[in-house]
Symmetry: C2
Subunit: 147 residues, 2 copies
DNA sequence: AACAATATATCGCAAAACTATATAGTCATC
DNA sequence: GATGACTATATAGTTTTGCGATATATTGTT
């Protein structure tokens, strides 16, 4: 447990920086891709998105506005409740996510090729493990009100 | 390979944001901790540090200056070469890293406790895998000149 | 109707990183 | 041993990305 606590964050953060550096990110920011990827699984409210991504609500409002301007998402109202904004991904949005992934894969291929099969398998497992842990963190409201 | 390329970055980045959010970072920034942790393994030049951390050299210059002001590192010249700055961690610097880790562990414990033993073991493996991959990325100079 | 609560939007600001460039020191060559 | 190319670090200015505080609009409650 000490091991994980002492090293996971640092390594994950460093990994992110190094990976980002490899790819000429282009038109779309990392956070934007993540939001789009989240939306690819279904519509969300602004606040919901913010919580899932670990961002403040005002940040998400602005981000969503940007995505809308580029035609990657649409904002719909909820008939029952005029305050709510439902965000849904568009076809163009899905295409943008796919495009980013393809570009990223291309840029990363040279790095991944260096790895042995077992290293790659290990990295794949690690990807799963991170996903599970993210789910845990998203589930635990921690210092927020418990919804 | 597509799986890793498509998901690793997004999950790692999200994990970082969620984890950071859990800890009242306090006096020291994440990047600072990482640099100190790197220096705990031995002295480095400014440029070397920047490359290892995936940051631009001017960013590292400023960062190192901040760390020096707090007494966490010292800057030494190289007798042979007056241009070079050798950065070394101090006892206080090591203590700062330890302090951060302890604080981080405390904040994270509630999250890690939720996990089963096997999940935790998996996360530990993931931490290793990330470390290895980071090593690979640091070794491949990619779009830079090959030193 | 008045008031509290909720969802989103706006505003101003701060941190952290970047690019471009300046400065200072070294090395090679003449 | 002076000159110019090269290298290591520093400085300046800007951009990006996020935040907190607060405003606005809508809903629910008494």
């Amino acid at each position: 447990m000490e091991y994980v606590a002492g090293n996971l964050l640092a390594r994950a953060a460093l990994l992110v920086r190094l990976l980002v550096k490899q790819v000429p990110t282009g038109e779309i920011s990392r956070t934007e891709v993540e939001v789009l990827a989240e939306l690819a699984q279904g519509t969300r409210r602004i606040t919901e998105l913010a919580e899932l991504e670990g961002l403040a609500q005002p940040t998400m409002t602005v981000l969503v506005r940007r995505l809308e301007a580029r035609g990657w998402i649409v904002r719909e109202g909820l008939p029952d409740d005029g305050r709510v904004v439902i965000v849904a991904i568009t076809h163009e949005g899905r295409a943008a996510v796919e495009g980013f992934r393809a570009q990223f894969l291309a840029a990363l291929t040279s790095d991944l090729e260096v790895l042995s099969d077992s290293d790659l398998a290990e990295l794949s497992r690690a990807t799963d493990a991170l996903g599970s842990f993210v789910d845990v963190l998203q589930a635990v409201p921690s210092a927020r009100g418990s919804r």
